[in-house]
Amino acid sequence: MSVAKHFSRKYLREEVLPTPFCPGCFNGVVMNAMFKAMEELGIEDLRNFVFVSGIGCSSWIPNPLIRADSLHTLHGRAVAVATGVKLANPRLNVVVIGGDGDLVAIGGNHLLHAARRNMDLLVVMVNNMVYAMTRGQLAPTTPLGFRTATTPYGNFEPPINVAKLLINTNANYVARWCVSNFHKLKQSFKEALSEVSKGFRFIEVVAPCITYVVRYEGKTPGQKIKELREACVEVKSISEIDDVERRGKIAVGVFKKELKPGYVELYESYASRAREASQK
């Protein structure tokens, strides 16, 4: 009789477990939501997937943990590398997983332009509110007043609202969930891997760093999940986002869902125009 194993294990490299993450780190929960979605979509193995990450705790999610091709790239450059992968082999499902610092600070330009191009990528941003790997400095997503290693007197730089920003780009899909919204998050993964499987898809997961946020606040990971259940309010329309945020809550939901052709499709028709022009 085989001993029952956690459902995520079939997508993981057994030989590198346990994970390198701190006890309670929500990175594993984000993985669970993604793998549950894959399992429900009937994805047996990940041979048609390529995971690309940058540098940071969350960038260790795919590499080497996930049993798939993965590129652990430079800090901030995951989206650019992923773009190259996708264009050179459009058959592959390319998924970027990274941190708020990686994707929005040092790599912010690539994120914006991949969204502008509606590049056929799924980008998962683990918003843990700090630079965790380098021991808890200010991130562009750190809330006001927060104490970090580089804002010891409380952050005074207003944070960036990444998902809201991306709504106004060509991105096909923009969603934000808290790590406590497991089922909704899983549902977004499913949408972004099936229904809306083209163009730029962005899922932000609010998943505060256990070591540099949650423990600093004197809380346990379980308490934080319970707190997030209250703090994260689902909006049905983007017009409600500001209202929710004014009340000091975190607005979550699917903010945008379209089925415009992605970059690959647009490039193909551009290339056929190029061929026609050269035949004349």
């Binding site: 029952a4 346990p18 319970k226």
Partner: protein, 72 residues
């Protein structure tokens, strides 16, 4: 009949998420430490098979088995 949890003590880091989130209050952390030095969850009450612990286990260490079957 019924459900129970299987814990992989090689992976569990004793974060306690499962214990705190279990709606049935079926779990507790063990008194003694695992070989890797953590307190692992043990089942002390009736499990209703909601799989919350499984979904939120960040270390893929807990599996819920109902009627001899793991998660689909």
């Amino acid at each position: 009949m019924g459900c129970s949890i299987v814990v992989d003590s090689r992976l569990c880091k004793g974060c306690g998420i499962c214990v705190e989130l279990c709606p049935a209050r079926a779990l507790e952390l063990s008194k003694e430490l695992s070989p890797s030095g953590y307190r692992n969850p043990v089942q002390t009450g009736k499990c209703v098979g909601c799989r919350t612990c499984e979904m939120f286990c960040p270390d893929f260490a807990i599996a819920v088995v109902c009627n001899g079957k793991g998660s689909a």
